[in-house]
Symmetry: C2
Subunit: 406 residues, 2 copies
């Protein structure tokens, strides 16, 4: 039995007309001999409208009641899409997350999927029905309706595909994964094939379509993930296991940039691991998300610790330092608000050590100061002055072949 | 433990502002020492909007998917109302019909309540929470979401009150039950107290606020039903068991009229019970709802059978007669499209036989022809020419004290 799980996002089902077109697309797959499970999000802006209703009632809606409210959005989509399929002569049946027993943890608005009972899905396959499932939602142990938070619907789709050992297709309003956001890099190339690891790095940089969480789950169960445009016949991007086939491998698969961080440098701390641990421990306690870190020890036994955090967390960080200063009057800190973080990602870096060197050489050739660098196994991130972002992106796009050939 | 079940209709929760005011009203009851269960309908016109969405997809939406769609309406209301209560400092918890295990038959769009599991409600009472329940919906044996059809939310409320042995309050946009629709009878009186039987007769005449089904259920379990306006402090109407206390009893409690029927008289049928049975059997098979019936046998063994049916069923009736005519060429039928049906209802008729006589005398005094009469234990209905409706209503209103004293 060939099974496919297709997921359609909110814009794909944003109107009655679009729902009908999505139904046609599903039917096409069904006619290719697949058993089809469809995951849908809430129609267009309907989730935002529900949130607005809640906000008109209270600034702090109870999370449980918020889930009760928001789960209606997908329930509307699944019923309408099923009606559309049935009216076109294709038996279909819709299920909410709770109805399908998509079991989750009990943390409202941020629940995690624990298991899915696919009995009803398999029963529907026996009846040759298309199964339409509400994404983003599930049910906790004590029968409470829950929602999965950001990236929820994609995660629902991947989880169902994992349980059904199926291929998973994510349909959205872009044509796939690009080497970089085409609004940032003119001529950015669509990637035909990308590995789970690369996609996870890209996703955690906030780049490209898929949420980290869904890719991580796909990687865990080795579910082939296909990302493509709902209303286009163009080929999309395949996210899957990529062998180390060396020769054909590109060094750098994708690039992302961010202007959302600031760089903080703490000066005159005594160079002890205890101080380092205390610094980042306190930031973590306050849920400040530290990204890049570098530190240097001077000859007189002091540390320079430099790191980046989201701009909106600056106030928290400054409060922490001021508390420290009472105890350690020597410490100082410098804040650089005008930075751009550039990251390049590629599985090829595992086996080819030259990527960092190439980056440094290009920066040097163009007199661009690198303010900070961090590397992981398949990623290099560095910080430059923010006004240089576009220039660096163009240089890197050309150097690593991230743009279409002319 | 004092328990009350309150039901608020769609117009009562038609906007965020109204939801907040309903929350205040509930809190007032809570502060009087009641444990409160609230049943709510979908906000304002939202059910109609959902139906419009479905109709834009297909003319014949699958009933199961229609229920999947429509149940979202109440789910939105319960979450918002719960948020409003919580934000005002009163712990509340919302439940959908399926979540509360409101068990129904499996006929989609017209399901009937079989039982309700009140475990969760009692648990919430232990935690001193207000329980907010989605009306109009339940769940069938095979875990399918169902809706209850017309009068559904009132029925949900009465059923819950029955299980909790509670008082039931129906809040709506009118101030109670009137002797007659005030748009039809100027000065119609609000009734303080009406019996279940009278209310059932009134409801089955399409008169007054409550659906027959909910009143019937209240009668079955002897649940006191209070009907009043949501946003007014005026006293409403109590529907309850009324003892035969004779002296204070009014002869006629209420009146209703209808212009929606036509009168058909079938002539020249051979007077046999077989023919009568065949006539009404065939109409019933075609789901033609026959209301009043009278028949007369002539000296030569022929029958005159006269009856009323809804105007929209005329075509079906004529088709049936035409089929008969092939077999029985003598039969004829006359159709009177211009009739008004007047009905008066009152428990007092059980013990006072003079009501029909009084009706006939007044009609005679004013030269109004009675074209047909039927009576039940507590109701008299008669047919007059439609242009006389207003005149008859005024005469009866005065004769039976249905208007406010001046």
């Amino acid at each position: 039995m060939k099974i496919v799980v297709q997921k359609y996002g909110g814009t794909s089902v944003g109107s009655i007309e679009k729902i009908k077109r999505v139904a046609d697309k599903i039917i096409q797959k069904k006619n290719e001999g697949y058993q089809v499970v469809v995951i849908v999000s809430a129609m267009g802006k309907s989730t935002d409208e529900l949130i607005d209703l809640a906000k008109a009632i209270t600034d702090n809606p109870e999370p449980r009641e918020m889930d009760m409210l928001l789960t209606t959005g997908e329930q509307v989509s699944i019923s309408l899409l099923s009606m559309a399929l049935i009216s076109k002569g294709y038996p279909a049946i819709s299920y909410t997350g709770p109805q399908l027993n998509i079991q989750t943890t009990s943390l409202h608005q941020k629940a995690k999927i624990k298991d899915i009972d696919v009995t009803k899905v398999l029963k529907a396959f026996d009846d040759d029905k298309i199964v339409v499932v509400a994404g983003f939602q599930g049910v906790s142990e004590n029968h409470e309706y829950t929602t999965l938070g950001r990236g929820g619907s994609d995660t629902s789709a991947v989880a169902l595909a994992a349980k059904l050992d199926a291929r998973c297709e994510i349909y959205t309003d872009v044509e796939g994964i690009y080497t970089m956001d085409p609004r940032k890099l003119k001529g950015a190339r669509k990637i035909d094939k990308i590995s789970y690891e690369e996609m996870m790095e890209m996703a955690s940089l906030g780049a490209g379509v898929m949420h980290y969480r869904a890719v991580e789950l796909a990687n865990k169960y080795k579910i082939p993930l296909y990302v493509a445009s709902t209303f286009s016949e163009e080929n999309g991007t395949m996210i899957e296991f990529k062998g180390e086939d060396g020769m054909e491998e590109t060094l750098v698969t994708g690039m992302a940039t961010s202007l959302d961080d600031i760089q903080i440098t703490v000066i005159n701390l005594t160079a002890t691991t205890g101080n380092l641990s205390r610094l980042f421990g306190q930031l973590a306690e306050e849920e400040v998300n530290v990204d890049m870190i570098s530190h240097m020890i001077t000859l007189d036994g002091k540390m320079y610790v430099s790191f980046t955090i989201p701009k909106e967390d600056l106030a928290i960080a400054e409060r922490i330092f001021k508390e420290w200063q009472i105890e350690l009057p020597d410490i100082r800190w410098e804040i650089n608000r005008n930075i751009a973080k550039i990251s390049v990602v590629g599985l090829g870096m595992r086996t080819h050590s030259g990527v960092a060197a190439k980056v440094f050489k290009i920066m040097d050739d163009h007199n661009i100061e690198i303010k900070m660098v961090t590397t992981s196994e398949i990623k290099i991130s560095w910080v430059v002055e923010d006004h240089l972002e576009e220039k660096v992106v163009t240089l890197m796009g050309k150097a690593f072949g991230l743009v279409m050939e002319e």
